[in-house]
């Protein structure tokens, strides 16, 4: 909830419209025109722009989907909506990839491309296999551009609960959230605050090593963070999480290691190494609750080992970025922070 309040009080609406402005250059010109002609309050709320070839153009808003007609007016009937043409699709892919699909083979294998500003464009099409593994995608048929927003202060309600006042460090923390609940935005803001330090809480900043595999958290362009991730943060951009965590551990002497979307077996091995080295972890995982995570094949063991000290679950019950609960990792009891 405080996310919404923050937007109201601090007037971040301009910033939100700014976020969609960052996405405009990758949209084909005709669609750019349609989006720009929307009323500003709608532009500011757009979370997703979805393209499906031959089907209506869809904008994802917090209140639900809307279609656009050819004049850029929001409509509710699919029959009145603008249909995405093959030419739109082709242009979109070229613009997203800056006409460099050859340089994005790894990204295509993962199914998405990160565009300048740290926004993620998911892509579907026909997978080309080689030896049973995906080599690349072709015949692109769908694309979903997710607009990432920087919301300074988004994590202010969480921060007091993950700071360890006695040691001056932080607790091992996992943010648990289904997709589209502001997980990455929250992680970015926690990293920023932990790295900068919080004078009002008497918390001096910590050295944070951030592995940003998808270039989403720091939104790096040519390795330089475009988003504020704090003064004491070292960013390893575009690096696989498991290797990245080990690299940072060996080379940068971090006090906290942060990473997004932990889940694969090798991620968990690397996390164990980090834990053994006495470095605090700050990660996110897809799921709806800690119990959910303990069922997961790779993550389960880590969760059951009781090393994680704080779980923060996020949801959308009061808009994206709602903190549903903060749970103590030892006792699995709620710390009494609900729905804020």
């Amino acid at each position: 909830m405080h996310v919404m309040q923050f937007q109201k009080t601090m007037g971040t609406r301009d910033a939100a419209v700014g976020a969609i402005n960052e996405v405009l250059p990758v949209l084909p010109v005709n669609i750019r025109r349609m989006v720009v002609s929307l009323p500003e309050h709608i532009q500011g709320k757009v979370e997703e722009v979805r393209f499906r070839q031959g089907r209506p153009l869809v904008l994802g808003l917090p209140s639900g989907d809307i279609f656009l007609n050819a004049a850029g007016k929001p409509v509710h009937l699919a029959s009145e909506a603008y249909l995405v043409t093959p030419d739109d699709m082709e242009r979109l892919i070229q613009l997203i990839s800056s006409s460099s699909l050859y340089a994005l083979e790894e990204e295509l294998r993962n199914g998405f491309i990160t565009i300048p500003g740290g926004h993620r464009a998911g892509i579907t099409g026909k997978a080309v296999l080689e030896g049973g593994k995906i080599r690349t995608l072709k015949y692109f048929s769908g694309c979903n551009i997710r607009i990432s927003r920087e919301i300074p202060g988004a994590s202010s309600t969480i921060i007091p609960h993950i700071i360890d006042q006695n040691s001056g460090g932080i607790y091992h923390t996992v943010l648990v959230s289904p997709p589209l609940c502001g997980k990455t935005t929250m992680l970015r803001d926690i990293v920023r605050q932990v790295s900068d330090g919080i004078p009002t809480l008497g918390f001096s900043g910590l050295t944070v090593g951030l592995v940003d595999e998808r270039s989403e958290i720091a939104g790096c362009y040519r390795g330089i963070p475009q988003r504020d991730v704090g003064v004491r943060t070292d960013v390893l951009d575009g690096c696989p999480k498991a290797e990245g965590m080990m690299m940072l551990l060996r080379s940068m002497g971090p006090q906290v290691i942060a990473a997004d979307e932990i889940g694969r077996r090798e991620d968990v091995y690397a996390l164990e190494e980090v834990l053994n080295a006495g470095v605090k972890i700050l990660v996110t995982a897809h799921g709806s609750s800690p119990a959910d995570l303990s069922e997961r094949p790779a993550l389960g063991a880590l969760i059951r080992s009781n090393t994680i000290e704080r779980y923060v679950t996020l949801g959308r019950s009061r808009g994206a970025g709602t903190v549903e609960d903060i749970i103590d990792g030892k006792s699995f009891r709620s710390l009494g922070v609900k729905r804020c």
């Binding site: 250059p25 990758v26 949209l27 084909p28 010109v29 750019r32 082709e90 242009r91 892919i93 070229q94 613009l95 990839s97 800056s98 006409s99 460099s100 699909l101 050859y102 340089a103 083979e105 080599r135 690349t136 072709k138």
Partner: protein, 172 residues
Amino acid sequence: MLKLVGATMVVAASGFGGMAVAGSYSRRPKELKSLRSALQMLETEISYGATRLPEALSQVARRCDGMVSFLFSRAAAELSSMSGITAGEAWEKSLESYYPGTALKPRDFSVLRNLGASLGISDKEDQIKHLRLAMDQIGLEVSGAEDEAARNVKLWSYLGFLCGIMVVLVLY
């Protein structure tokens, strides 16, 4: 006296005309060669550097000279403007303003144009294939153009003057 001046002007004009034609014959193989080496550089950028296209094009533009540099830098500028055009369109636009100032023939133009249609839209192997194809085609044109140059450069530079002299003799 006036006749003499006129005669000199006729000889000079047709002589220069002939030399201009000869010059375009001798320029074409040079231009084709520098195009080929520029494409070679682009291939290296794409295959080893995995450099993104706008950057790769401007890298190549920086390293080659003259008109070819113009072709690549213009295409890079068009592409980085983020005006919503594709790599093929940016290349085509740049090609159209590059071509008239060169000694290239329509078939050289169509080789370059075909290359533009596949620029940046496929994986690495495919890009390399298209670039190699264009380089091979240009290579063929180079040897043809060199033969042509050897035959025609002398021919045209003499022919111009001789025609001029003939006109003078007939009219004098």
